[in-house]
Symmetry: C2
Subunit: 318 residues, 2 copies
C-alpha cells in the first residue's frame, strides 16, 4: 500500500492473454498451427501463465473451436500454467479431457452485461458455478474467478462497489479466492481503481486479486500503477495489443504486453519477461494483420533504443 | 503530495498546444484561416491558455510562418492567455509587434538534444536568454521557461536530475520561475516523474512547474497522475492528439486534450473545459486529415456514452 517513489526490488507476474482474448476478437479465423506457433513463442518469452483458449460452444466463438487441438499441440511445460476459460459443465468436461490445469470462470458485475453475455443474471451465474467447482475439485483442477465490467458497465455505467463485494463473498463461499477484476469496457480511472482494490483487499485480505485492463480510454497503465500501489502484483496483457473492446469497435482493447513489460521494467519492477522476444512475436502478429498493431513500444521502440544525433546540426532560429 | 484516493474538489489548468506543437508536426501546411477557425473554436472550449504559434524563422518551420497573421485574426479576449514560442531576439521582436502577452523560451536538458535542436550547448542557450529577458521586462511581456527532453533524451538516454536542478537555478537567476517540464521523446515513467517533480519542488518551492507530456510509450496519463499527486496543476495537451514524436515518426505524440480532460473529470478533478466542444473540434481536425486522430476518447467515446443493451440476447455456451 505504498506509493511508488523509488525503484522497487519487487516483481510482478504478467499473464499473456492474446491466444484467448486477442484471437477471439480477430475478424478472421486463424489456422490452428499459427496459434500453436504463437503460443510456443510466448512460452519462450518467459510468461508464468498463458491464457490459451476458451472451451465455449464452437458456434459462439468459432475462432476458439480448436481449443482441444491447441492444448494438444503446444509445448506445455511445468514452468508455465496454461489457463482456459470455461463457461459451463460441458466446457469443463472438454477442458478436463484436454488436461487443462487451470480454469477461469467468468461472470459480469452488472446484470445487463450478464444478460447480454451469458443470458442470465449475475446471481444466477454464481449459482451455476457450483457443479463446476465440485467437478474441478474431483479432478484437481485449479479454479480462478473473474468479474467482467468490474470498473464500469457499457450499458449501466458505474458499478456499485457493493456489487463487487457481494460477488467476491459468493466466490469465497465457493472456495474461490483468486479473482481477476476485468475492466472489459475500459471505463476505469486511477482513483476508482485504487478505491476498488483497497476496499476489496480490506474486505478479503486472504484473496489474491489480479487485474485485466483494457486501454479503451487511455488510462490502463495509470490504473495498473494505482493497483500496484495498492498491492496487486498480477496483471493480464496481450501481445501487440490484440483484443479490441467489443463495445467500441475502433478503439483500443487489452493493454499490450510490450507496453506493460516496458513500463514496469522502466520503473525498476521486474517482470521476468524477455521484452525483445515479445516484440519479435508482436511484429510477426502484426505482419499477419497488415501491420496493424496496438502497442506503443512496437511503434516507438524501447526507451533504450537510442537515436543517433544528427551530424549536420541545423539551426532553428530567426 | 497526497495520494489520489478520493474525489477531489481541486481543479487543473490545461493549456491547449495543438496550434503550435500539433500543427508544427503536420506533413502539409494548413491555411491560416483554418488555423484561425480551429483556435477560435478552442477559445470557445474554455481553455485559460492556448499556445498559438512560434516566432521561429520561416525556413525552420514553414508551417508556423504565419504567426503574425494568426495572432491578428484570432478572437483574443482577456479570459485567455495567448502564448507563443520564441527562440531568439528577432522572434521576440516579432512577438512584441504582434502583442503576444506570454512568451515561452525553450532549451534542452541534454547537450546533444540542444546541439541538434538549437545548435548550441544548454548553458549557451541559457546565456542567450539574457537579452530576451530584458526586452520582455521592458515590454511587460510575461515569460515562461521550458526544458525539453527533461525526462529522457533520445540521443543520450537518462537525464541526470542535477541537470534539471542546474537549469532551474539558472532560470531562477534570470527571474523565470514558471517552468514547463517537457517529455519531448515520451521517455518518462511514473516513478521517474514523481521523483523529478518532488525534488524540483523541494529545491524550488516558489517555482510553478507545469508538464508537457508525450504519449510515445503509453505512459503519459500515468505520469500526469503521478505529477498531480506531487502538486503539479498545469498540463499541456493537444486536441485530437495532433503533434507526433519527432524521434519516432509513426508513434503517438502529445497526449490528447480529450483524453486528459476526460481522465481528470472522471477522477472528479475539474478542468473547466467543455469536453463535447473539444471532441467536435477534434472530429473536424480528423476530417482534415483523412480521419486520422490520436485520441482514445475520439475513438471510444466518453464513459458516459452508454450503449443500448442488445434486446436479442445470445447465449454463449456449449
Amino acid at each position: 500500500m505504498r506509493r511508488l517513489e523509488k525503484l522497487s526490488t519487487e516483481t510482478v507476474t504478467i499473464t499473456e492473454v492474446c491466444p484467448r482474448d486477442g484471437f477471439q476478437n480477430l475478424p478472421r479465423v486463424l489456422d490452428t498451427d499459427v496459434k500453436v506457433r504463437v503460443i510456443n513463442e510466448l512460452i519462450d518469452c518467459g510468461f508464468n501463465q498463458i491464457e490459451v483458449s476458451s472451451f465455449v460452444h464452437p458456434k459462439a466463438i468459432p475462432q476458439l473451436q480448436d481449443a482441444e487441438e491447441v492444448f494438444e499441440k503446444i509445448n506445455r511445460n511445468e514452468n508455465v500454467t496454461f489457463r482456459a476459460l470455461v463457461p459451463n459443465l460441458k466446457g469443463l468436461e472438454r477442458a478436463i479431457t484436454s488436461k487443462v490445469e487451470k480454469i477461469k470462470l467468468m461472470l459480469s458485475a452488472s446484470d445487463s452485461h450478464s444478460l447480454s453475455n451469458a443470458n442470465c443474471l449475475t446471481a444466477e451465474a454464481l449459482e451455476g458455478f457450483k457443479p463446476l467447482v465440485e467437478k474441478c475439485s474431483e479432478n484437481r483442477v485449479t479454479l480462478t474467478g473473474s468479474i467482467s465490467v468490474a470498473f464500469g458497465c457499457p450499458y449501466e455505467g458505474k458499478v456499485p462497489l457493493k456489487r463487487l463485494i457481494d460477488i467476491c463473498k459468493k466466490y469465497g463461499e465457493l472456495g474461490i479466492k483468486e479473482i481477476s477484476l476485468a475492466d472489459t469496457a475500459g471505463m476505469a480511472n486511477p482513483v476508482l481503481t485504487r478505491k476498488v482494490v483497497k476496499e476489496l483487499y480490506k474486505q478479503f485480505p486472504d484473496f489474491k486479486f489480479s487485474l485485466h485492463m483494457h486501454n479503451t480510454r487511455g488510462m490502463a497503465f495509470a490504473n495498473i500503477v494505482a493497483a500496484y500501489e495498492e498491492g496487486i502484483r498480477d496483471f493480464d496483457s496481450s501481445v501487440a495489443g490484440f483484443g479490441g473492446c467489443p463495445y467500441s469497435p475502433n478503439a483500443s482493447g487489452n493493454i499490450s504486453t510490450e507496453d506493460l513489460v516496458h513500463g514496469f521494467e522502466e520503473m525498476g519492477i521486474s517482470t521476468g519477461i524477455d521484452l525483445d522476444k515479445v516484440l519479435e512475436t508482436g511484429r510477426c502478429l502484426g505482419k499477419l494483420y497488415n501491420g496493424h498493431v496496438d502497442s506503443f513500444i512496437l511503434k516507438a521502440g524501447k526507451n533504450s533504443d537510442l537515436k543517433i544525433s544528427p551530424k549536420q546540426q541545423s539551426k532553428i532560429g530567426n
